[in-house]
């Protein structure tokens, strides 16, 4: 049991080369599925342990922190790791039929190898307490994502991957520069140690620069408006499974990194009182939420529409964390969880559509409500959650966000959240209307419901949107505790 934090990285990391060596066929898929399920079990055990005993510290190789690499699991990263592992465990089974249909068979082993590498990288970021280590895992997952996106069957996937590569690398470089500057000031890379040493040198220009580079770097990775332009293309042209997995997890983990940098490394006072980050982040997010929601409204491809909506949703998370209050953080962390559920369900449902129809353009979705009722109903549920209809997960996070805004006395921000929810109604409606209120075109007359192997994962996530819209003990309640931990309170 002591090895749990390490196992969470080691198991998928070993799985990746193993998958590459297996012959193309079902074997790499079975391996990846097994790994993702083991990963989920480990993440659940880890969260249970943290809830039971409090923060866990694990010294890699027996080298004690701050000299060795420390894995440090508190409630926040145990929760994030569970989200990543949970989505992974649902998405990987879906990959079986979906990836087989979308990826040339000679690349299948490679596909699962890359997939497990992203998985490793994301889990690695969440569990490590070493900021350089964090950068390394960030790059493992990013490099694997570039390659995976390039595997998309549309030729535009190549340009999308290239664009992402450039932007992602700039982000990573900024982050590394920030890490380097912080290291030059304090001589340490351990996050807890950094947090202890930074206040003494907080007034130096180097510290300010380090802060700026770190925040800007992570901002690029989490697709903060206006540096989000890599995201829509990447999500649109990636293979369906990859879109679902990275949309549900990758940007969320980047938000987690931002939380760590702001609240743990530099501390709430430095980030929000000393440096006026709140207005910067709020203005960027609010403009971003409006701009990208409106962009979503004009899209003709459903996947692209969801991608723009993702940027808007990230805006909500950033607004929540920008308050720097417990209520705001609770909203942000809850939304990380809930957004993973809703976008996972939506992208998987589109994956099932792509499997049957071969396209996700809204024109090609027309009439599918009758031809693929189960898939499209799951999509509709995910859409309701995205809008934030009561009794779905999306409502819970929006409710917390509105309360957090009102607590600050910023009622106009509550209006922004509600008004953009209305835009969400419109763009979700576009797809729902196409599916149910338009006739099935003649060339789709023989389209049938997606196979059960695709429907089950889709519905697991769709049902989770309802479940966590009613039972908030494992989402909002844990998020509230995690917010407390992050603000330095007792769990």
């Amino acid at each position: 049991m002591e090895q749990l934090p390490a196992l969470l990285i080691v198991v998928p990391l070993l799985g990746a080369p193993l998958a590459a060596m297996l012959p193309s066929g079902r074997l790499p898929w079975l391996l990846a599925t097994a790994v993702s399920w083991v990963g989920l079990a480990l993440a659940v055990l880890l969260l249970a342990r943290v809830l039971d005993t409090g923060t866990i510290s694990y010294a890699v190789g027996g080298w004690l922190p701050p000299w060795g690499i420390e894995l440090r699991i508190d409630l926040l990263n145990a929760f994030i790791a569970l989200i990543v592992a949970g989505i992974g465990a649902v998405v990987t089974p879906f990959a079986g039929p979906s990836a087989t249909a979308e990826i040339p068979s000679r690349n299948i082993s490679l596909f699962y190898c890359l997939f497990l590498l992203i998985y490793t990288g994301l889990l690695g970021i969440t569990v490590t307490d070493d900021i350089f280590n964090m950068f390394v895992f960030l790059e493992i997952s990013s490099l694997a994502s570039y390659a995976l996106i390039a595997l998309g069957r549309d030729r535009r996937a190549l340009t999308a991957a290239y664009q992402y590569l450039i932007m992602g690398t700039i982000g990573a470089t900024f982050f590394l520069i920030g890490v380097g500057l912080a290291y030059s000031l304090t001589g340490t890379l351990n996050i807890i140690d950094l947090a202890a040493r930074l206040p003494a040198v907080a007034d130096t220009r180097t510290a300010h620069t380090a802060f700026a580079f770190l925040v800007a770097g992570v901002g690029l990775k989490l697709a903060l408006f206006p540096v989000h332009l890599w995201l829509p293309n990447a999500y649109t042209y990636a293979p369906s499974v990859v879109s679902a997995f990275i949309a549900a997890t990758a940007t969320k983990v980047a938000v987690y990194v931002l939380l760590r940098v702001l609240f743990t490394v530099f501390g709430t006072e430095y980030s929000f009182d000393y440096i006026p980050l709140t207005p910067i982040l709020i203005v960027l997010s609010v403009v971003g939420i409006f701009a990208t929601s409106l962009s979503a409204l004009t899209q003709i491809d459903a996947k692209r529409l969801l991608a723009y909506s993702s940027v808007a949703q990230i805006g909500y998370m950033v607004v929540g964390l920008a308050f720097g209050t417990a209520a705001g953080l609770t909203a942000a962390i809850t939304h990380i969880f809930n957004h993973a559920l809703m976008k996972g369900a939506l992208f998987l449902a589109l994956g099932a559509v792509a499997y049957r129809v071969g396209s996700t353009r809204i024109r090609d979705i027309e009439g599918l409500g009758r031809a693929m009722p189960w898939t499209m109903s799951a999509f509709a549920l995910g859409g309701l959650s995205l809008i934030g209809v009561p009794l779905t997960a999306g409502f819970i996070s929006k409710w917390y966000l509105i309360l957090a805004a009102l607590e600050q006395g910023w009622w106009w921000l509550a209006v922004v959240v509600l008004a953009t929810s209305l835009i969400a109604v419109m763009y979700v409606w576009k797809i729902v209307e196409a599916a149910w209120f338009r006739a099935l075109p003649a060339h789709h007359a023989n389209v049938t419901e997606a196979p059960l192997s695709l429907l089950v994962p889709v519905w697991v996530l769709a049902a989770a949107n309802i479940w966590f819209g009613i039972d908030t003990r494992w989402s909002a309640a844990i998020a509230a505790q995690a917010a407390n931990v992050l603000l330095g309170g007792a769990p």
Binding site: I402, L403, W411, L418, V425, T472
Partner: protein
């Protein structure tokens, strides 16, 4: 059966009914039987709640708890029971009418129609018995969504346009204003439970009370207060049974019911008047009453005229709530019931004319009364009741509303009520007058009365208008319990 089990059943039964309707879609007779059986079962269940409520008990049950302080809970208090007792029996009557209408009109997708209708009724029951504003909001939105397929039933471009206005206004107001008010109230008070005397502490500043109250009153778009009333005329593209039950009874009354609930149990009458939150809103309601009446006079389309008449009449109830006095609440509560019986009769008659004579405009109705005497007689009774003349039920609610304006020393509002009644005479009674006394010059030998099912339904609701005049005690008792 205990009242606590009856409460959730009021929602479950129509939902099961919807399922049964969907399953028996291939056998229309069996399907219609399902609707009627469900309706009767619902009425019985709602009736079992009458004795405990009259004895002063408030049975309640928590279904699930989501967030702290926001349980989904049901309870039966007098106002909710009154609303449910109006909606449940009228659903049965409307179903009988709808069977005749839908078959007579040879409408398509009848299974979807009856199933969605049952879901809408389930949502209505949820609104009626919601124990807190969160639960009410939930069912309020469910009602909007479940009525959308009914409004766009025809499937034409015109229906879709109407549906878009309907859905757009109701959803926008509910999210932008109502949900904001909800969250704001919760953030101020920490609860959304309905409680006698309201939930706001005295320390809450007057301006905030005023802002929140206005957000609620406009956010409850279903109450059709101007300028957010356009959805109601737009909804008239729906088949007439939908207009009759939903847009004269269930949906619009859910709106004014919510306004009453919010006024009485969320703010409390004293809080509203002390903060002066109702002052300017009263004039908005008065303007709605008059303007809608004027617009109604200009409408030649029969259903559009009735729709604007509804907007005007809803204004009465909102006015009663906004007066925030016991008499106002009493009159408003009673008007929920009396207007329901009157207006549903008018819609039934309008639909009957459409089915039997294929006429939709007022100007086409000349002389039609002689071919369809029963229909036009029922229309006359409904119209007289809405005008507020004895011996029809509408008199009572208008009587108490008028008294309330006098008691509150707002004679201008009294003038509005009286003037509006005159306008009612002009635009409603003109219709049967044309039907009975004018001559179109066309040969009407071909014309005959509406289907028997439609006539039966009309007869029942017209009789209701008379019965409620002579036996208003029960209604009065319930409404008095609401007013306190």
């Amino acid at each position: 059966m205990t009242p606590e089990t009856a409460l959730p059943l009021t929602i479950v039964i129509p939902l099961v009914g919807a399922l049964l309707v969907a399953l028996t879609g291939r056998a229309p007779n069996l399907r219609e039987t399902m609707t009627l059986v469900t309706g009767v079962a619902l009425l019985i269940i709602v009736s079992t709640l009458v004795p405990p409520v009259l004895s002063g008990a408030v049975p309640e049950i928590v279904l699930v708890s989501t967030l702290p302080g926001l349980p989904i809970a049901l309870s039966a208090e007098p106002l909710g029971l009154l609303f449910a007792l109006v909606a449940a029996p009228l659903w049965i009557v409307t179903s009988i009418y709808a069977i005749g209408y839908m078959r007579g009109h040879q409408e398509h997708n009848q299974t979807r129609f009856f199933a969605a209708f049952a879901v809408a009724i389930a949502s209505t029951m949820g609104v009626a018995f919601a124990d807190n504003m969160f639960t009410l909001f939930l069912f309020y939105e469910a009602l909007t969504v479940s009525t959308y397929p009914l409004v766009t039933h025809a499937g034409t471009d015109k229906a879709r346009r109407g549906g878009r206005v309907y859905f757009g206004i109701l959803i926008s107001t509910s999210i932008l204003f109502q949900l904001l008010a909800l969250a704001w109230t919760y953030s101020v008070t920490g609860t959304l439970d309905f409680a006698a005397g309201g939930i706001f502490a005295e320390s809450v500043p007057d301006w905030l009370i005023g802002v929140l109250y206005a957000l609620f009153v406009f956010g409850i778009g279903k109450a059709a207060l101007m300028p957010f009333h356009r959805w109601l005329p737009a909804a008239m593209v729906a088949p007439t049974p939908v207009s009759a039950l939903l847009h004269a009874v269930a949906v619009v009354k859910a709106g004014v019911f919510t306004v009453l609930k919010v006024t009485i149990y969320l703010f409390g009458l004293d809080t509203v008047t002390n903060a002066g939150a109702n002052d300017w809103l009263l004039y908005v309601a008065a303007a709605t009453i008059l303007l809608a009446s004027f617009v109604a006079m200009t409408k030649d389309n029969l259903k559009a005229r009735l729709a604007y008449s509804t907007v005007s009449q809803l204004g009465y109830i909102v006015l009663g709530a906004l007066l925030a006095t016991e008499l106002g609440v009493l009159g408003g509560s009673m008007h929920i019931a009396t207007h329901a019986f009157g207006k549903i009769t008018l819609f039934f008659a309008a639909g009957a004319i459409m089915v039997a004579a294929h006429k939709t405009e007022v100007s086409q109705l000349d002389g039609l009364g002689r071919a369809m005497p029963i229909t036009f007689a029922a229309f006359t009774i409904g119209a007289l009741s809405i005008v507020g003349l004895p011996p029809f039920a509408g008199l009572w609610s208008k009587w108490y509303l008028a008294l309330a304006t006098i008691e509150a020393d707002r004679l201008l509002l009294l003038g509005v009520l009286l003037l509006s009644s005159l306008l009612n005479v002009a635009y409603l009674l003109a219709i049967p007058v044309r039907g009975f006394f004018l001559n179109s010059g066309e040969d009407q030998a071909e014309l005959q009365e509406a289907p028997r099912a439609c006539l039966l339904a009309m007869g029942v609701t017209a009789a209701g208008c008379v019965i409620l005049f002579f036996y208003p005690d029960f209604l009065y008792r319930l409404a008095m319990m609401v007013a306190g």
